[in-house]
Symmetry: D2
Subunit: 116 residues, 4 copies
């Protein structure tokens, strides 16, 4: 199914409120929870190189899917709690990134914009 | 606007391919980039407590919006690159979480499921 | 015992070389490993507040000790691999921090130096 | 100079107490600060591969030294605040790691002990 960000946020809100968890979900802990899940995602690739990275992508697909979902759950709920429209925020950020990384300068380069 | 996850992923793919960046966007570095952005999000709340956390939410709204977007950009592209349907992954993960945290046991508790 | 940084680094080098692990310990993966361990340390305090934080400190002492050690292991080996004298680096960084956070301005404040 | 862990911790304690910062340095925020610094360390290597990683090691030596120091500062103070002997913790953790990764099984392998 092609979920909108908002539909997913509604599902998450319901899940949380049934458990009365909003009392723990202050913005600071939510950001920390997100970072912890991001580290768990990283761990799946630790020490891997070249082909091994692709092998993780196919062999640990289930785990990867779960870790991505964990990150997404905190990200979507945090944006919702902050009243920030995440889709809009992405589009606006891309427009800023386009100014920092203009196609003619950034094409094929892995340099940070400060080094372009 | 109510973007779907897939619409946003298409926008991101176009942005990346115009810059010929797919060569750098191996899954491992994408996961690392995501974790770095999550840390920048955390930094906005570091050392803050109680009311100060809410004050960050209102006074640093622009920065928060950008950091959330940065996390989202890497998350959505990584899921896309891995061929994982992020909306579906969230819904499936929630269903597993519901089994680990049944409402009657988890309601009002901040314990990890292993300690419930 | 009062170990010096260098004594600990020597112990770590021996442990690694017996296992022929230097081939995996490139600086980039070492930095990632360090960050993953830092996240595991954070997880012990997630959702905890006030007195609960102190309770973690006493009840999960063994786990805390292990997570701190995990972070330290990667930090000390990475500094060693880079040929950076960690003790010296700390002393130099403190001297820079003292300039950014002079006692008369920073005393009792949790503001970042850019906001002082 | 060959600093002991404890000498460095004493220097850090003095720096903190002159600024009356202990009030902010609860264990949870200290762990978060450590993780944020670890992410900044990672950022220096982001998108780099092969020779580029070594080039970072030589060209960004000053930055690397500062980021390693930042991680170390929080790690050493946190261990000190928790009353955990970090040198001892490292030696004990290595002894556990030696049991999980015996030389004959782990030599030359990048597998997690659960996959050995």
């Amino acid at each position: 199914m092609a979920y909108t960000i908002r539909e997913l946020q509604e599902i998450l809100r319901k899940f949380r409120d049934e458990r009365d968890w909003m009392q723990f979900h202050n913005h600071k802990d939510m950001a920390t929870a997100l970072a912890i899940e991001a580290a768990e995602l990283q761990e799946l690739f630790l020490w891997k190189r070249g082909d091994e990275i692709d092998r993780v992508a196919s062999e640990k697909r289930e785990r990867l899917s779960e870790e991505l979902a964990d990150v997404a759950v905190y990200l979507l709920e945090l944006a919702d709690n902050l009243g920030i429209d995440l889709g809009q925020a992405i589009v606006e950020k891309l427009s800023k990134n386009a100014a920092k990384y203009p196609v003619d300068k950034a094409k094929g380069s892995n340099a940070k914009y400060t080094d372009l």
